[in-house]
Each structure stands twice: as structure tokens, then as C-alpha cells.
Symmetry: C2
Subunit: 221 residues, 2 copies
């Protein structure tokens, strides 16, 4: 009965996995800023140093959190008739997964861990690219280009709901005087785009430019 949970509950039953889950929950529920070592320790009813013992310092904590969270993102099945469509579908999965838990994404993005966060989905995209006939350096470059654009849209979406109103891009651009600019455009710039649909059309174009059209499904092999 005391043997079952491995050998790690010597004192307080604290283990790395539980710390990570609690950290993820804390960031998701109360924002990325709420995730401090002390706050997380308090949440666990433990001294700060215990986190260091089990997980390591803050950077290691964030890395492990993002990795763990990223594994869950890759569980959704990929749908689509052609490989080309499935490439786009994976892009959409990255996008949706990132926005579903924005605070984790924010944490990952501000610490250069986005690649780690989406690594499994990127691998899935590499597989779909291969099935579409894109391999080797072309696959590497296609993957890079697509994920760069996806990442850009994610950052844009994160900024849209976290920025103080006075330097959102809508206000920034609208407050810039330009006599030559069409008044229709000018007033449109003060409103915000519908990012999900913009994401779809833009990434469609990017994927189409990088992945050849379906040559009855056997261009390579």
C-alpha cells in the first residue's frame, strides 16, 4: 500500500510530475506572471527549495512544463483527405492548441521554448510533408517556413487579448496621420481582423506554395 507509488513518498509524497501539473494549472488559472517559485511552493504546501530538489531551477521547471504540456497537444488525430490538406490540418492544430492554453504558450514563447512545445506536432507535420512528396532539405525548409508563420499568428493572437488598449496595434496605426491614405482603409485599420479565418487563408497560401499539388498521391515512391 505504501510500496505502490514507487519509492518517492519518503516524506511529503512530492514528486516531479505533481509539481509540473500544479505549475501548469497555476499558470493556466492565474496567469503566467503568477508562476513564481515561492507561489508554486506555497500552492504545494512546501518550501521553495523542494522544487529545486525535484525539478531544478526556474528554467528547468519551465522546460519540463512546456514539454509535458506539449505531449498532450499531440494526441489529437490528424484529419484530411490529401497529405497537403493534412499539413494544413497540423498547422491548425498547433494554432488551436497554443491558443487553448494561452498562458502556457505565453510562457513557452517568452522563453524560447516554442519549438519544444510543438515538437511532436512538428514531427507529425514532417510525416505529412513526406507523404506529400516533400523530403530532405525541402521538408526542413517547408517545416521551418510554416511553423514560423504559425508562430507569428500565435504571437499576434496572444497580444490581441493581453495588451493594454493604448498601444494595441489598432490604436497605434489609427493614430498615425497620413493624408494620402484612403479613409476607408484608415477607419478599417482602427478595427481588428478576425484572426482565425485570416490564419486559415494565409497558411493555405503558404502551404500551397511549398507543397506540390496532389499528383494522385504517389509523387514520391
Amino acid at each position: 500500500m505504501a510500496e505502490t507509488r514507487s519509492r518517492s513518498n519518503r516524506h511529503a509524497g512530492l514528486e516531479a510530475g505533481g509539481i509540473l501539473d500544479r505549475a501548469i494549472a497555476l499558470a493556466r488559472d492565474e496567469g503566467a506572471d503568477a508562476l513564481t517559485m515561492r507561489r508554486l511552493a506555497a500552492e504545494l504546501g512546501v518550501a521553495t527549495t523542494s522544487i529545486y530538489w525535484h525539478v531544478g531551477n526556474r528554467e528547468q521547471l519551465l522546460t519540463a512544463m512546456v514539454q509535458r504540456h506539449g505531449e498532450r497537444l499531440a494526441e489529437t488525430p490528424i484529419t484530411g483527405d490529401t497529405a497537403r490538406e493534412r499539413v494544413l490540418a497540423v498547422a491548425r492544430l498547433i494554432w488551436e492548441g497554443a491558443l487553448a492554453d494561452r498562458e502556457i504558450t505565453r510562457l513557452a514563447s517568452s522563453h524560447g521554448l516554442s519549438s519544444l512545445h510543438a515538437q511532436h506536432l512538428e514531427l507529425a507535420m514532417a510525416r505529412e510533408l513526406q507523404e506529400a512528396g516533400v523530403v530532405g532539405e525541402s521538408a526542413r525548409d517547408a517545416l521551418r517556413a510554416i511553423t514560423a508563420c504559425v508562430g507569428g499568428f500565435i504571437v499576434a493572437a496572444l497580444l490581441d487579448d493581453a495588451l493594454p488598449t493604448d498601444h494595441r496595434r489598432t490604436s497605434v496605426l489609427a493614430h498615425l496621420e497620413d493624408p494620402g491614405l484612403d479613409p476607408t482603409t484608415r477607419s478599417a485599420l482602427a478595427t481588428s481582423s478576425h484572426l482565425p479565418s485570416l490564419f486559415d487563408t494565409t497558411l493555405q497560401a503558404v502551404v500551397d506554395s511549398l507543397v506540390p499539388a496532389d499528383l494522385s498521391a504517389n509523387a514520391y515512391l
Copy 2:
């Protein structure tokens, strides 16, 4: 002789502009992390509180820095035969300007000030879009999509040279096992793409999908 420099050198000849320039230089020369209030004050030979007096708190300092730096970015003339080409040229200007002073870009990007940083160039892009016949909400959406992709590439480039080797994306992806993946692709994933050329081809595709081809230069008007 003492009247010439306006009326602002009451005590130490300190003024907002000088503080901002020094802050920009400090960030550029010694990295974004070196820019602390105390460090900047020491650099200026002044107490920290003086910065608060002239510029404001850290967020206001960063905002003013980014704004000032962004104005200089917009001084480069825009070249290109068709309006469509000039849209791409502006995108390239944003990209190159951002990478020329990476530390400032890093500062802007990590504080949600990227729109502010590139605001003048974005306005220039709006003008070129208008000349290409894209106005109103279409212009707003095109601008948004293009800048999102540009931003994504910029973030990707910043990460490439600032990340510890062990969780760069090349290592991250290469260390992921997948039996079904083509060995050529697998080894290519361990190398890094040439971002500048990838940027060009990708943004070419994005712009082409959003901006109609040149209808002998007078589609609108």
C-alpha cells in the same frame, strides 16, 4: 551660450532624448538583459530616480525607446517597380531592420511593442497596398497577415542565435525518434535553414495570395 540648449539643463544637463539614446546603445551593445534602471543610471552617471523623473517607469522607457528606434527604421526609401513588389520590399525592410538591432527587437517583442516598433513601416505598407488596389478591410487583413508572418520569421531568427544549443529546434527535432521518417529528412532536420532566402520565398507567396497581380497599374482609380 547657456540659453541655446532650451531650458532643460538646469542641473545636470539631462534630458529625455539623451536617456533614450543611451538606453538604446546600452541594450544594443551589452544585450537586452543589461538594460536595468540602475545600470542605465550608472551609465549616465545619475541616480535612478532621475530616469523616472524624465522618462517614467520601465515600461514607459521601453515604449519610448522602441518608438524612437522605430522612427529611424522608416527612413530607408522603398524600391520596386510594381506596387506588389514594393509591398514585399517593405516586408523585407521590417525584417532587415529588426535583425540589424536584434537586442532592441528582442526588447520590443518581449514587451508586446513590435507593432509600435514597425508602425511607420506598416503605414508605408498600407500605402503600397492601396496603390496595388487593396483598400478598406482587405488592406487591414492583408497588413495583419503579412506582418504576422514577418514577425514569426523575426522571432525565429532571434531564437536561432540566442538559444543554448541543447534546446534549439535543430536538436529538438533531431532527437525525436520516428521510424517512418525518411532518413534524408531526418538528417536535414538536424541542420538549420537559411532564413533570409526562406523569408523571401515565403513572403512572396503570402503577398501574392493577398495582393492582386498588377492590372497595368490602375486597378483602383
